[in-house]
Amino acid sequence: MSHHIIDFADVHFRYPDGTEALRGIRFRITHGESVGIVGANGAGKSTLLQHLNGCLLPTQGTVTIGDLALTARTRREIHKKVGIVFQNPDDQLFMPTVFDDVAFGPLNLGLDEARVRERVDTALAMVNGLSLRDKPPHHLSAGQKSAVAIASVMAMEPDILAMDEPAATLDPRSRRLLISLLKGFTHSKIIASHDLDLILDVCRRCIVIGEGRVVADGPSEEILTKRELLEANNLELPLSLQKR
């Protein structure tokens, strides 16, 4: 299934103020892979993720999703395939109630009402958020917002799932729930996080980013146990591997 392939070829990105956030990123993710992106604050993880659906377009190099090269034109096509959960859930929830918000994507896909309701319920159930259905998002706690943001993306049933720090505000149980949700998602997924334990649990492959470049790329078990590599990138061993 070539349409689940993600290919970054020498991708550079410069913010308008001149910050070189990406300086030649290169990797290829094939169908069904689960990849963790780790790195220091400001390494470029969020910037990279925003290239997956054309929120940002590379200033140099090409991003290919499936068989489409990412450009301003193909962006819309690609939006249907890639679901992204951003770092700040507030950015993602813009409708007056949780239900409306989760239903927004499926409705725009043109599904009929019954299907939409079904999708919303399934997605909310996934994140244990059925009880929040009729609440307005600005009355939710931080973690509840994150959960709803995840549901609103899952309701679109994307081919490729990308998440930026999905667990930062979740309580440990919701984090576990997210981990099992992610394990159950069989298409390609990319997760950027400082939570190395989560990456170790969910992702078989791990890419370390440093100053906009790929510093290391390999199986998670291998990468996340290399103390020196991690420390050079402001990281440390996953907590569950540290002895107390």
Binding site: P16, D17, D91, F94, N108, H138, M156
Partner: protein, 269 residues
């Protein structure tokens, strides 16, 4: 589209004001007053004046070079905002076709002269405003306003506006992005969703104001924003103001350009 792109590199303009050049170090009050003098002088020329306006370009050029401000950037911003003045001005050549003078056999109409005059004034005045921010910084201007007698309440909330301009604009931008990612084709881009988006943004803004107020209170806020930065008008500042006033006066009341022209014609007939 980022906030910077939408508003044509506001962030970059802001960043230029962190410079430390001679011009940047002048007292903001002096710069505000000089800019206003400059504007009034430029504007006070009659509608068909052109040649007498040319010497005024000395001021932006001095600010650009001494302040280390990229000229191309400022020029592009000027062009970016020109449509209104151009639209109004372009009627002049159409409506006023009296021939004023003939140069090298070409009849020059009054309308073209006044249009050109509007253009020159537009470049000068717009440039002056942009250069004022680029060399003074917005907080600097706010302090100047306060020292020039604007009410403290007004100046304080102006500082808040500046601080949260970028925060909220980014927030709005990311909300739009989330909407656009889940809309396919035209659906979801209409007024109904827009109104809710703005409503949500408004509620969040109000909540944020509450939290900011809490943060301010917990740091001892009592209705007044104290400032450590003290501005003292130095000799250099006064000299700058004096020089600017004298030059402006000279350019206003002596036909400098014409004088130079005649001088040149006298030398090279």
């Amino acid at each position: 589209m980022t906030f910077d792109e939408r508003y044509f590199a506001v962030g970059r303009l802001d960043r230029l004001s962190y410079g430390r050049s001679l011009i940047h170090r002048l007292d903001p009050r002096v710069k505000v007053v000089a800019t206003l003098l400059f504007l009034i002088t430029v504007i006070s020329f009659p509608p068909h004046e052109i040649v007498a306006l040319l010497p005024f370009f000395l001021f932006p050029v001095l600010l650009l070079t001494l302040g280390g401000i990229p000229a191309g950037f400022i020029l592009r911003k000027i062009v970016f905002v020109s449509p209104f003045a151009l639209t109004i001005g372009i009627f002049n050549p159409v409506l006023d076709t009296r021939t004023v003078t003939v140069i090298a056999g070409l009849p020059i109409s009054a309308g073209w002269l006044s249009f050109l005059s509007i253009l020159l004034k537009f470049v000068l005045t717009t440039g002056a405003a942009l250069l004022l921010v680029a060399t003074t910084s917005f907080p600097g201007i706010c302090h100047a306003l306060r020292r020039l007698g604007f009410p403290p309440l007004f100046v304080s909330q102006l500082l808040f506006l500046y601080r949260y301009l970028f925060v909220l604009a980014e927030e709005a931008m990311r909300m739009t992005r989330a909407r656009d990612m889940r809309t396919f084709g035209r659906r979801g881009l209409g007024v109904a969703v827009f109104v809710r988006l703005v409503g949500v943004l408004f509620l969040r803004t109000v909540d944020r104001a509450e939290r900011i107020y809490g943060a301010m209170l917990s740091r001892g806020f009592r209705g007044d924003i104290p400032m450590l930065r003290k501005f003292r008008i130095s000799f250099g500042d006064l000299a700058f103001l004096a020089a600017a006033t004298i030059l402006l006066g000279a350019f206003k009341f002596y036909p400098v350009t014409e004088g130079i022209g005649r001088l040149a014609q006298g030398v090279w007939p």
